[in-house]
Symmetry: C2
Subunit: 144 residues, 2 copies
């Protein structure tokens, strides 16, 4: 299914801005709204920041994009939706990488007690330091 069809079947209109958003998000990795806006502009010439925010909301609501918000960084978006994957986040530079879930199908979806909550999602974030920052951290002139 192409993007236009996906938009339509989600009840959304097909606009240049939204196609460009999907395209931009797909081209990068866990980008934030500003970076996506730049990608959109490079594709369609002009788009207001607000249109990008609105589009990102609409597409997330429709399930065409997934929004993640790691502590300390602005919201980021990805096209990989519907599977149960999690994220590695670098404490130093904020870089985000995907990881499949370790534990089978609907894994972490079983807390020891749900305290009466009706749970629909288990979100897992692995915090650490990415390979690049490890190298930089090892060089003397970067040390605090």
């Amino acid at each position: 299914m192409d993007d236009a069809t996906a938009l339509r079947s989600a009840g959304l209109r097909v606009t240049a801005a939204r196609l460009a958003i999907l395209d931009s998000v797909r081209a990068g990795s866990h980008q934030d709204a500003e970076r996506i806006a730049r990608g959109v502009r490079s594709r369609v010439g002009h788009a207001s920041t607000q249109a990008v925010y609105d589009g990102l909301h609409a597409l997330s609501r429709a399930g065409l994009l997934r929004r993640i918000e790691p502590a300390g960084s602005p919201a980021r978006y990805e096209v990989r939706v519907g599977d149960n994957h999690h994220h590695l986040v670098c404490r130093r530079c904020g870089e985000v990488a995907d990881v499949d879930c370790t534990l089978g199908e609907i894994p972490c979806l079983e807390p020891s007690s749900d305290r009466g909550f009706v749970i629909d999602e288990a979100e897992v974030v692995f915090w650490g330091v990415c390979p690049r920052c490890q190298e930089e951290g090892a060089s003397p002139d970067e040390r605090g």
Copy 2:
């Protein structure tokens, strides 16, 4: 160990504001900075917002408080530190509840691939709807 001693052994000075912060955080459940500031003021009469932010940072850095930032709500703080517990977050009202980790000691700390990251923490958030919001959602006049 009382709070004053804990502060001192963390290399921090003992001030009325910081004692009040610890006290306030302990008294509530996963409160945000503004709510904590109110608690502090009710205890010591006056404290600037900035002093509360600074105190919360210092205490978190020192390991006396834990900071969590669920997507969509401001940072929240708790005194339960050092154990490996996770959180239930209500999608509707933002309420946060603690849950012990399901899977043993250092549980989810094993992603299927670490992609070269050096991981120090696995954060798990269970998203759902809290008991109170379930009731409200069930009543006709709340329905959308």
